[in-house]
């Protein structure tokens, strides 16, 4: 149990709860909150020394954020 693993678990759980029950129930808040569990997962992958997983996960999460922003712009941002 390295410190990175424990901190990653805490951030992952916090981010999941925050994303599921946000303060304002619009798409933008949920999209920004979705980045928090990504950091938690990144720290957990770091504690297992998975270099390729780290790089791929960072790239794909940024790409998915870009796609989500395009979709939210098209819908007008209102749920």
């Amino acid at each position: 149990m390295t410190p990175e693993f424990i901190i990653g678990l805490i951030i992952l759980l916090t981010g999941t709860v925050i994303t599921a029950f946000p303060q304002r129930r619009d798409y933008l808040t949920r999209l920004i909150n979705l980045e928090i569990p990504a950091f938690g997962l990144l720290l957990i992958a770091l504690s297992y020394d998975e270099t390729l997983a780290l790089l791929t996960f960072i790239a794909v999460s940024t790409l998915s954020t870009f796609v989500m922003v395009l979709v939210i712009e098209r819908t007008g941002g209102e749920p």
Partner: protein, 86 residues
């Protein structure tokens, strides 16, 4: 004396816990705040606290890639934060 050794935490480990506390603070503040700009600032705090943890493990290349990629996603999300909206 066997069995009675005390676990000594090094300075590096104390620093790791310190940066972990900063990261947890950033994640909680992201959840609490309602303003999207404040949320983005808190995400920046979180990403800044993750960098020393990466570098302590020796992944300087990943830290460089992360510090190049993360502002891009912040800028992309900033397009959605319209002016005049809280």
């Amino acid at each position: 004396m066997p069995g009675a050794w005390r676990r000594v935490s090094t300075v590096n480990e104390i620093l790791l816990w310190l940066f972990g506390a900063i990261a947890v603070t950033g994640s909680v503040y992201t959840g609490i705040s309602r303003d999207p700009f404040r949320k983005l600032i808190a995400i920046g705090l979180l990403s800044g606290a993750v960098m020393p943890l990466l570098i302590d493990r020796g992944y300087v290349d990943i830290a460089i890639a992360l510090s190049l990629i993360l502002p891009v996603s912040t800028i992309v999300v900033l397009q959605l934060c319209r002016k005049g909206e809280p």
